[in-house]
């Protein structure tokens, strides 16, 4: 079942590539159809999901692959991966809807995104380090071709920078994985086995180096300060749906790696270095917010708010590594908040990037100052942008609030120093209000005159993402019920 969910998109992609002369229209609808089927399958799995016992997985599949190096084809789902798998399917389906009117080589585009979807789903379903790495690397390849092939501006250069930078990260990750493999006895790449008997429990130096390699790999992907410099150009020059996937799904692979790999597999080293992670998180929060405040390019601004939002997650997982006798509850809260933030950021930021894409599609510009008074010619656009902006700054009633509240409640509970990150929320609020004001209010001027409002596809794709954010913000229980048991497992593992 899980394999079907993961491989259905890529099989369709192969079909689209190999069969000659599939009409463009058919390719676009095939993409949307498969994305929706995949989403439906995941929703079905969500409904049938029963939180597995600690150390167990739901929908588990395991086949022999490379027995002599202790690696197998091992997929499985728990409360950490299921929300992200579903998020992936939601965002890809929204992108498929958004791209229904795309005229630039729709067939290869559909095939590429289906391939990318399989890679992303695979990352979140993998329970073997090598399998994880395989999907992780393939997602980079897919995203490289998305940016280089369908980007604009200086796309080739940005795509190259993206690929080189994140490839460096992925190889650092691979080094860490090899370290884990050699440290384990018997040698294995299986995450479940490694979590049961974590390597390097009594060798802080070796464990520290292996953790450092993994952290650098994940930090580049996330990205956190100071490894974020590839993100703004990649976003600026990527097509709208490419940006949505990059921000909504690919960045989550980094943060997911923290809770899935770094914390449970290297608990000793994680606790020793938790303070570094907390500091990196706080700096990312503040730095991302301040730099975003200074941007006049919409996409660069959203990209830097991503650095800020990812910073909260890093702060939370760092704080979860600070263990004391009475901290278990706060730690669990922080980890739960981190996972909710991954989902929330995925929905909201994808919506924002799609909205930014609408600007570029109509006027070939991302310049905040070139627009003004969009509310008059395009009221629906203005409403959507305002809602997305409020959701992103963490207003109650949206998913971002639930996430950030839990993160701060949990982090301050274990590490009072986390208070330092609070101004980040304030700056983000200011910058989103400022941007909305520049873009939407006043008399229509500059590029805004004659700006046509959102069409049906755009409304459907962006609207569904925002509606989900509101649903999570108002009725978070259905999500929290899934995440909380898994978060407590992670906290138990990291506290050993």
């Amino acid at each position: 079942m899980l394999s079907l969910v993961v491989f259905l998109p890529v099989l369709t992609a192969v079909f689209l590539v190999v069969v000659p002369r599939v009409p463009d229209r058919a390719a676009r609808w095939a993409w949307l159809g498969i994305a929706l089927i995949d989403l439906a399958l995941l929703v079905g799995m969500w409904i049938a999901f029963d939180s597995p016992k600690p150390g167990d997985l739901a929908y588990e599949e395991q086949l022999q692959w490379m027995p002599s190096v202790g690696s197998s084809y091992h997929l499985g789902v728990d409360g950490l991966s299921l929300p992200l798998l579903t998020l992936t399917a939601v965002i890809f389906a929204a992108c498929a809807v958004y791209a229904l009117r795309e005229n630039d080589r729709p067939r290869p585009q559909a095939a590429l995104f289906l391939f990318l979807q399989s890679a992303c789903l695979g990352v979140f379903a993998a329970q073997d380090l090598i399998l994880f790495f395989v999907f992780f690397d393939l997602s980079l390849v897919g995203m490289y071709f998305v940016i280089a092939g369908w980007g604009h501006g200086n796309a080739a250069r940005s795509a190259l920078k993206f690929f080189l930078y994140t490839f460096l990260g992925s190889l650092a990750l691979l080094l860490g994985f090899i370290g884990l493999y050699l440290g384990a006895d018997p040698h294995t790449f299986d995450m479940a086995e490694l979590a049961q008997s974590p390597p390097f429990q009594n060798s802080p130096v070796a464990g520290g180096f292996v953790l450092a390699a993994i952290l650098i790999g994940l930090a580049i992907k996330t990205p956190t300060f100071p490894f974020h410099t590839w993100l703004p150009p990649a976003h600026t020059d990527a097509p709208a749906i490419g940006s949505a996937v990059l921000a909504g799904v690919l960045l989550k692979m980094g943060t997911y790696g923290f809770v899935r790999i770094a914390m449970p597999l290297l608990p000793d080293a994680w606790r020793s270095w938790a303070w570094v992670i907390i500091v990196v998180g706080i700096v990312s929060v503040l730095y991302g917010a301040l730099v975003a405040l200074a941007q006049t390019d919409v996409k660069r601004m959203i990209a830097y708010t991503s650095v800020n939002h990812m910073g909260y997650i890093v702060l939370a997982v760092g704080a979860a590594g600070v263990v004391s006798d009475s901290s278990a509850q706060a730690q669990e809260l922080a980890v739960t908040g981190a996972v909710v933030q991954m989902v929330s950021h995925g929905l909201i930021t994808s919506a924002l990037f799609l909205l930014a894409g609408v600007l570029y599609e109509r006027r070939q510009s991302y310049d905040l100052n070139a627009f003004g008074g969009l509310a008059a010619p395009a009221p629906r656009y203005a409403a959507f942008f305002a809602v997305a902006a409020f959701a992103s700054l963490g207003l109650p009633g949206f998913s971002g609030f639930i996430a950030e509240f839990q993160i701060f409640a949990g982090s301050i509970g274990t590490v009072p120093l986390s208070l330092l990150a609070l101004p980040g929320i304030l700056i983000t609020a200011a910058l989103f209000l400022l941007a909305s004001q520049r873009l939407l209010t006043g008399k229509p001027r500059g590029l805004s005159t004659g700006f046509s409002d959102l069409n049906t596809n755009e409304t459907l794709s962006i609207g569904s993402l925002l509606v989900l954010s509101v649903v999570i913000g108002v009725f978070p229980r259905f999500l929290l019920d899934i995440i909380e048991p898994a978060a407590s497992v992670v906290v138990n593992l990291v506290s050993r």
Binding site: M66, G149, A159
Partner: protein
């Protein structure tokens, strides 16, 4: 010693030798337009060799002819990779070679060089090692010069001079090792070198390794590779950057396996590896000729391939990872050359601009092969890199692992310099078909055999990656001396 039985174990080599002789003789009698028969003779001989080698691998490992040649997992893999690789080279060169003045000689020389590489991969006696070295080198000099351009003559000269120099060095090394070890067979040398003066052993090992590095195309014997790759015909370039490496690297592993720890040879090989990969990558950065770029890229690949050699006998993964990487490297590198052979009018990186729209399948094959050389999953070289890195780390060379990783990232840059323009929307050759003269239209067309072999190769690269686990388990048994 049972001569008949021992000869039977050499059946793969016998087939190749027979094929070379028959092709050469048939070529001297056949008219030019029927020389194609020699191609089939060569391919059948190599196929027979593959079958014989596969059958041989099912027998227990042993040494033959008084322990001078090992029939084990190393030579088994070596023979199969070399024979299959040579078949691939011949097929990708069908259009390029058929009907040329020296068709049959080319096949005969290719077979002889392949035979030399097979001898290298099984040599467990220093004298056999030298024989294998000469047998791979001499046909190569001729093959490189065969295309008769001034550049080819220069490249052949360079190769010859370097090969002669390092060959003599190698013989000097053999003499020294013979002097201090009292024998040339590895079985004898292993225990004898334990008590020998370390300085003498070091001189001997360095000199012999120098010769092997010439064959492998690694630092310090790499100077001929880029020139020869650029100037020789595409099929020959594909051959010389792939097949001799297989023999030379297995030979280096086999030799170092018996060298005692009295000298720090892992450090020496590690330094050679680091130098090869770094130099190969840096030099490939700004190359505009795709064949020269591939030439330098093979120099850097030798660096990665030396990782498991540097930890020979010190990690359980060393030998399986070397053999797996060699198989993967051969398949991937040959696929890249097949793409180059299929588009003979495109020589510079800029010529590839927009090629993806006119040749989507070839573009796909090139993406698979170049990203494969970087080590992107799920290709076979990914598993090769993964296991070689793990082996080197396991053997204690963590610094080398870090250098290899940084080099892998750097290599991505120049492979992308080649790949990215292919998907550009403005083609380099963009005149409409109707206005083309027949000659130009013929030049624009792809070569069918080469194109088919490129696509087959790309599929092979992916499939091998998926079944890598099986290959690793087969390659698990140790070498015999």
């Amino acid at each position: 010693m049972n001569v008949a039985l021992d000869t039977l174990s050499l059946l793969p080599e016998v087939f190749v030798l027979g094929g070379a002789i028959v092709a050469l003789l048939a070529g001297s009698f056949l008219p030019r337009n029927r020389q194609v028969a020699t191609r089939w003779i060569a391919i059948w001989a190599l196929m027979a060799s593959v079958v014989a080698a596969a059958v041989g691998m099912m027998q227990p490992s042993t040494t033959i002819f008084e322990a001078s040649f090992a029939v084990d997992i190393g030579s088994g893999f070596g023979r199969i990779i070399i024979a299959l690789g040579t078949i691939f080279v011949i097929v990708l060169g069908i259009e390029e070679l058929s009907g040329t003045r020296r068709e049959s000689e080319t096949y005969a020389l290719l077979l002889l060089a392949a035979l030399g590489a097979m001898l290298l991969s099984g040599a467990s006696d220093l004298l056999i090692l030298v024989t294998g070295y000469l047998l791979t080198s001499i046909p190569l000099y001729a093959l490189i010069g065969m295309s008769r351009s001034p550049h080819a003559a220069e490249a052949a000269m360079k190769t010859y001079l370097l090969g002669a120099l390092l060959g003599i060095m190698m013989m000097l090394g053999v003499t020294v090792l013979f002097g201090v070890g009292g024998g040339t067979s590895y079985r004898q040398l292993g225990p004898a070198l334990l008590g020998a003066p370390a300085a003498a052993v070091a001189v001997g090992v360095v000199a012999v390794l120098g010769g092997l590095m010439f064959k492998a195309g690694g630092v310090p014997g790499h100077f001929w590779i880029p020139d020869a790759t650029q100037a020789a015909g595409t099929a020959v370039a594909a051959f010389l950057t792939t097949i001799p490496k297989v023999g030379a690297l297995v030979a280096a592993y086999r030799l170092l396996d018996i060298i005692p720890a009295s000298i720090d040879w892992p450090l020496l090989v590690g330094l050679l590896a680091a130098a090869s990969m770094t130099l190969g990558n840096l030099a490939a950065f700004w190359q505009d000729d795709v064949r020269r770029l591939l030439g330098w890229s093979t120099v850097s690949q030798v660096g990665y391939l030396l990782l498991p050699v540097a930890v020979a006998g010190r990690s359980d993964l060393a030998l399986p990872s070397l053999l797996l990487y060699l198989a993967g490297y051969a398949a991937t590198n040959l696929t890249a050359f097949a793409v180059v052979a299929a588009l003979p009018t495109r020589r510079a990186i800029t010529d590839y601009r927009g090629a993806a729209s006119s040749h989507p399948w070839l573009a796909g094959a090139l993406v698979v092969s170049l990203l494969g050389l970087v080590g992107t999953p799920p290709t076979i070289v990914f598993v090769g890199k993964l296991t070689t890195l793990a082996a080197a780390w396991d053997g204690g060379l963590v610094w080398l692992v870090v250098i290899a990783v940084i080099n892998s990232v750097a290599s991505l840059f120049y492979y992308l310099r080649w790949l990215a323009p292919m998907f550009s929307r403005t083609p380099a050759l963009s005149y409409p078909t109707a206005t083309l003269s027949p000659v130009a239209a013929a030049a624009r067309a792809r070569r069918r055999w080469a194109a088919h072999s490129a696509i087959t190769g790309a599929v092979f690269v992916l499939v091998l990656g998926v079944v890598a686990g099986g290959i690793l388990s087969i390659a698990g048994s140790p070498l015999v001396h």
